[in-house]
């Protein structure tokens, strides 16, 4: 990993110097509409979130649970286009100082053009990309494009991953490695799996210096628990649910409440 060139890794490192660790917040672009999705993301930055993960709605999101599925399908039904994702990204980065990365399934990127996608992330002020259904083995074109464009690329590591695959995830990721807390899909859970702790330890043993845990985290207590051993905690469904039920103000309140878990 090339830490010095990564704005995401630097934001996470900074949060670990000042607080218990970093809090990464996910929201889908274009949900419930373009303008509200921009305001909601800005609210994250104003309420203790260190890195924004901006989801690009996709027709077949196999890593997502019902809350995020419903939000992203609503955005698509309302006419969301990939180009709107870059508009949302640019509008957010113009107003916040924290890094913003996309989360996208692979086919939309392939159809957009991998090199063009990288260039347009840069143009929109974005920092990189999380790829839930792209493993490093299949990612040669994205690794080349992100190297050229200087973008962070975040691959996933799972409790079931072999030591060789964890080493590959660490070697190929830049910014952080996304440690999947449990064997499952996105969505709030009462308990964050104990598998997360041992996965983070195994990633560190493989040389990871920036590891964030996602899937199932929805409370300040869970954030605190995760940050005791990881560099960052990723929250998604809880924020999307807040946006659905209470709008931007509820997102702001939820983010602020979650960020209490980052206090030392």
């Amino acid at each position: 990993m090339n830490i010095p060139s990564s704005t995401v890794a630097e934001a996470i490192a900074s949060a670990n110097r000042d607080r218990a660790g970093a809090l990464i917040g996910y929201l889908p672009a274009g949900y419930p509409d373009i303008d509200t999705s921009i305001e909601a993301a800005v609210a994250l930055a104003e309420n203790g979130i260190d890195v924004i993960e901006l989801g690009l709605p996709y027709s077949d999101p196999v890593m997502d649970g019902p809350v995020i599925q419903e939000a992203t399908q609503t955005a698509l039904a309302a006419g969301f286009r990939l180009r709107n994702g870059f508009e949302v990204m640019a509008a957010i980065t113009a107003r916040v100082s924290i890094p913003v990365v996309f989360m996208s399934y692979w086919n939309p990127i392939v159809q957009y053009g991998v090199e063009r996608f990288a260039d347009d992330i840069v143009a929109a002020g974005g920092a990189g990309l999380i790829t839930p259904d792209l493993i490093p083995d299949e990612a040669a074109s994205w690794i080349a494009a992100s190297d050229r464009a200087g973008l962070d690329r975040i691959f996933l590591a799972a409790p079931s991953s072999t030591p060789e695959r964890l080493a590959q995830a660490v070697e190929t990721s830049r910014g952080f490695v996304y440690a999947v807390s449990t064997m499952g899909i996105t969505g709030a859970r009462l308990d964050v799996d104990s598998a997360a702790k041992s996965l983070v330890a195994r990633l560190r043993a493989s040389g990871a210096t920036s590891t964030c845990v996602g899937l199932g985290i929805s409370s300040a207590d869970q954030v605190r628990e995760v940050l005791a051993y990881a560099d960052g905690a990723i929250v998604g469904s809880a924020l999307v649910k807040a946006l659905t039920t209470g709008g931007v103000s509820a997102v702001a309140e939820t983010a602020a409440a979650l960020s209490a878990g980052t206090r030392l």
Partner: protein, 403 residues
């Protein structure tokens, strides 16, 4: 190099593994177990015995001269996979994978199903092997294939109607993948077609290639020569790969797949993936795909639940690109007319999926002429479709139905 030797994970530029990292270990374990089983005489003997005593293999071939009169007089031979236990070719793959699942120590089988034939076959294997079974089926399909839902439930499977997206086969696969990610320790995802991440396209093809191997010998024995064309319907493409495979290196044998054209390929309501799609990634593999400019999957349409899928197996995409196989569209109405013609001329009621191949053969026979021999994979029987067929032709007596 022989076209029959393709082992994946790639067929040309198609195939691969575009799945969450959480599934890679299970795919690697499956790949290793399958590779070992291929050369393990114990596994092969188990599968052969099951096919002989349970599936009912070899399936026969039937010549259909009265039907063939409407196809330019070509000789038409049906490979009768409809006569297998559970009523379609699907059982070939299911028994193979269920044996692998047992060797892997899995106790739970999950499956997607469109027409319900693969779900019924999986529920059957789960009952036979004493395993738990959950079948995901699009809500639209649970309605149009209600008989198969009842069969699966009687066999002890839980059928979960999927209400997301287009509520058809594509969404059932999404839901099965989500289940598998969460339960991969105990669960085998018994994928029902030659699509999905490696090793599924290769493994499912191999479990079905017995169809073509038997048929090749049977046609030689009956006619003294190889057929001029080998044909099948193509949704995901498992029955087509099964019958094509033995003929891949017979350069003079034309391989023709018939895709569902729904209301027509000039309308948005079709499922003709190779005819109208372009390469993309869906359900773990790169292949032809019906998609919009942004790479969002486009909803497919077909009167046949089993062909109502916007993707296709990667090996078919490769065979199309290199010109070894050709793929042609057949509309809902052409398929239904061929279904009725087969019933009234030969006394065989076929599945609506299979009827697409019959409709295609009616035209192909005209092209190839009266001296030609055409082999068709009769992939399934039509019992499950009687409500749809009845409504389509108005042959159900309303009063009798109410009684």
């Amino acid at each position: 190099m022989s076209l029959r030797d393709e082992l994946g994970p790639y067929f040309g530029e198609y195939g691969g593994r575009f799945v969450p990292e959480s599934l890679i270990k299970a795919l690697d374990e499956l790949d290793a177990e399958y590779t070992a089983a291929k050369t393990d005489p114990v596994f092969q003997a188990e599968l052969t015995a099951l096919h002989a005593t349970y599936t009912g293999r070899p399936s026969i071939i039937t010549e259909v001269p009265r039907f063939a009169r409407h196809a330019g007089g070509a000789r038409i031979l049906l490979k009768r996979e409809d006569l297998n236990h559970t009523g379609s070719h699907k059982i070939n793959n299911v028994l193979g994978q269920a044996l692998l699942a047992r060797r892997l120590g899995k106790t739970r089988l999950i499956a997607e199903t469109g027409a319900g034939q693969h779900g019924v076959a999986t529920a059957t294997a789960a009952a036979l092997f004493g395993m738990e079974c959950v079948v995901y089926m699009g809500e639209v399909d649970t309605e149009r294939q209600a008989l198969n839902v009842a069969r699966m439930r009687l066999l002890g499977a839980e059928v979960i109607p999927v209400t997301a997206g287009s509520r058809t086969l594509k969404d059932a696969i999404n839901e099965a993948l989500r289940d598998w990610v969460a339960n991969v320790d105990t669960t085998h995802y018994l994928l029902g077609t030659v699509a999905g991440p490696h090793p599924f396209p290769v493994m499912v093809r191999d479990f079905h290639k017995i169809i073509g191997e038997e048929a090749r010998e049977q046609v030689l024995a009956l006619t003294g020569r190889l057929p001029d064309a080998v044909t099948a319907c193509v949704g995901g493409g498992s029955n087509a790969m099964g019958i094509f495979h033995a003929f891949l290196d017979d350069a003079d044998v034309r391989l023709v797949g018939f895709e569902a054209a729904g209301e027509g390929v000039d309308t948005p309501r079709h499922a003709a993936t190779i005819t109208m799609g372009r390469p993309g990634v869906l359900h773990g593999a790169r292949s032809y795909l019906l998609q919009d400019e942004d790479g969002q999957t486009v909803e497919s349409h077909s009167i046949s639940a089993g062909l109502d899928y916007p993707g296709v197996g990667p090996e078919h995409s490769w065979l199309a690109d290199i010109g070894r196989a050709s793929y042609r569209p057949v509309t809902d109405s052409e398929a239904m007319d061929a279904l009725r013609l087969m019933a009234t001329t030969e006394g065989i009621i076929v599945a609506i999926e299979t009827a697409h191949a019959l409709a295609g053969v009616l035209r192909l026979g005209e092209e190839l002429g009266p001296d030609s021999v055409i082999l068709v994979n009769l992939s399934g029987r039509g019992d499950k479709d009687m409500v749809t067929i009845g409504n389509y032709f108005g042959v159900i007596d309303r009063e009798a139905e109410q009684v």
